[in-house]
């Protein structure tokens, strides 16, 4: 691989390469013996408890952390706000000192936004592309930064510990691992019991921040924003044509009306009925689009999170690494899909198809 004249290999000098290699091999070995695969294969090994990867406990609903003015605040909401703050700070820093010849950060943002702007223009046309750009780009940036920020260590690993009164349906029973130890079993999860101020409480450990789109509510909210956006521009630009796409009684009533003039037009009535039916189907697909939007984003983000958890459980340090790179790509692709589909749907809404057969 390396020529005889080159010093070193892979662009590093040999000592550096050897050190890196030793670290990588050490991580592989450590990952193997501490992960679930190695633990099962080498059952005689006795390792300290903190070194063994604990089994992952993914849970879908976002836990409530605390209440502000009576509103429950969940960990996914915190992550959403962090995303918004990061975006606002980034935009502030970038636009604070704008230059005609852009510096590095400005260059990055300008090229990224310029690319989305070009995509908008190429799909929706000059005039409409400029109008749709803000919403489409906001959706893109929010979903993208949400996905990428949740890969940062600290998301899902910092835990908030709080004491809660023992619920009524809790079962106090010996722990599975250590029968001498009593735990409270609530919804198949074991909680430690601690005494605070003379009262028995369960110790609840919740993740402090978790990727915002791993809670089904956030994708639903973005999907509804995109739905309202599509309907608004459809009504504003195409007016009755937009409504006629979904509620199309005109041809049917006209054919029925012709009966009274003495002309019985069976095909006309039949076609009119089919138009009404097709309009209903279109309306149904308009509504189902929201569900599809929601679960596509939610599913991809949740699956990514659980994939990383399980990879880190099976073979720590080594196996999550390729999946992290995959998650970077998936975040980008999902952000692109969400924003581009919104763009395509709103473009379809402002330029209604002539005739039902055109799709």
């Amino acid at each position: 691989m390396t020529g005889p004249k080159k010093r070193g290999c892979l662009g590093c000098s040999f000592p550096v390469l050897i050190i890196v290699g030793v670290i990588v091999i050490a991580l592989v070995v450590l990952g193997f013996i501490t992960g679930a695969i190695g633990q099962n294969m080498l059952s005689g090994l006795d390792l300290p408890e903190w070194l063994i990867a604990s089994s992952p406990q993914p849970h879908l609903p976002a836990p409530e952390l605390f209440h502000v003015f009576g509103f429950p605040i969940t960990n996914t909401m915190l992550a959403g706000w962090i995303t918004v703050i990061v975006l606002v700070v980034f935009s502030f820093v970038v636009t604070r000192r704008m230059q005609i010849v852009p510096r590095r950060l400005q260059m990055l943002f300008e090229s990224a936004l310029g690319w989305i702007y070009d995509v908008c223009n190429s799909i929706a046309g000059e005039v409409n592309g400029r109008r749709f750009f803000p919403v489409v780009c906001t959706i893109f940036l929010f979903v993208l930064f949400n996905a990428w920020l949740s890969l940062i260590p600290g998301f899902g690993s910092i835990e908030l510990v709080k004491n809660e009164p023992i619920p009524e349906d809790a079962q106090i029973m010996p722990s599975k691992e250590d029968p001498a130890h009593l735990v409270a079993l609530v919804d198949d999860r074991e909680y430690e019991i601690a005494t605070v101020d003379g009262q028995d409480t369960i110790v609840v450990e919740e993740e402090l921040i978790r990727g915002s789109n791993t809670d089904v509510n956030t994708p639903l909210a973005i999907a509804l924003v995109s739905f309202v956006f599509v309907i608004f521009y459809g009504l504003k630009n195409a007016r009755m044509d937009f409504v006629r796409q979904y509620v199309n009684f005109g041809p049917l009533f006209r054919s029925i009306g012709r009966i009274f003039k003495g002309k019985f037009d069976f095909m006309g009535i039949f076609e009119g009925a089919i138009q009404v039916f097709v309009g209903g189907l279109e309306f149904l697909s308009l509504l189902i689009r929201n569900v599809s939007f929601t679960f596509r984003l939610f599913g991809n983000m949740t699956a990514g999170e659980i994939l990383l958890l399980i990879a880190a459980f099976l073979l720590p340090f080594v196996m999550p690494f390729p999946f992290y790179i995959l998650e970077l790509l998936i975040g980008l692709v999902q952000a692109l899909i969400f924003s581009l589909l919104t763009l395509v749907f709103v473009t379809m809404a402002v330029t209604p198809a002539h005739g039902a057969e055109s799709h």
């Binding site: 993914p58 849970h59 879908l60 599809s292 679960f295 596509r296 939610f298 599913g299 991809n300 949740t302 699956a303 659980i306 692709v333 999902q334 692109l336 899909i337 581009l340």
Partner: protein, 76 residues
Amino acid sequence: MDAEAIKMLAAGLAMGLGALGPGIGIGILGYGAMQGLARNPEARGPIQTNMILAIALAEAIGIYALIVAIILAMVA
């Protein structure tokens, strides 16, 4: 069979059968993109972008099955 075993079986079946369709779809998409690339290598950029978009759309269906499997295996 007890309820737990059937639940696990259902989760496995949901994931396995649910991944079948998207797998075929992604295969067809890749086939089309490769043919397009072989015929017209200059159109690499748009073909790649559109292929990734379409693949992600097909993959979403597999993800629905995954959600059902996760809910069956872990939550329900």
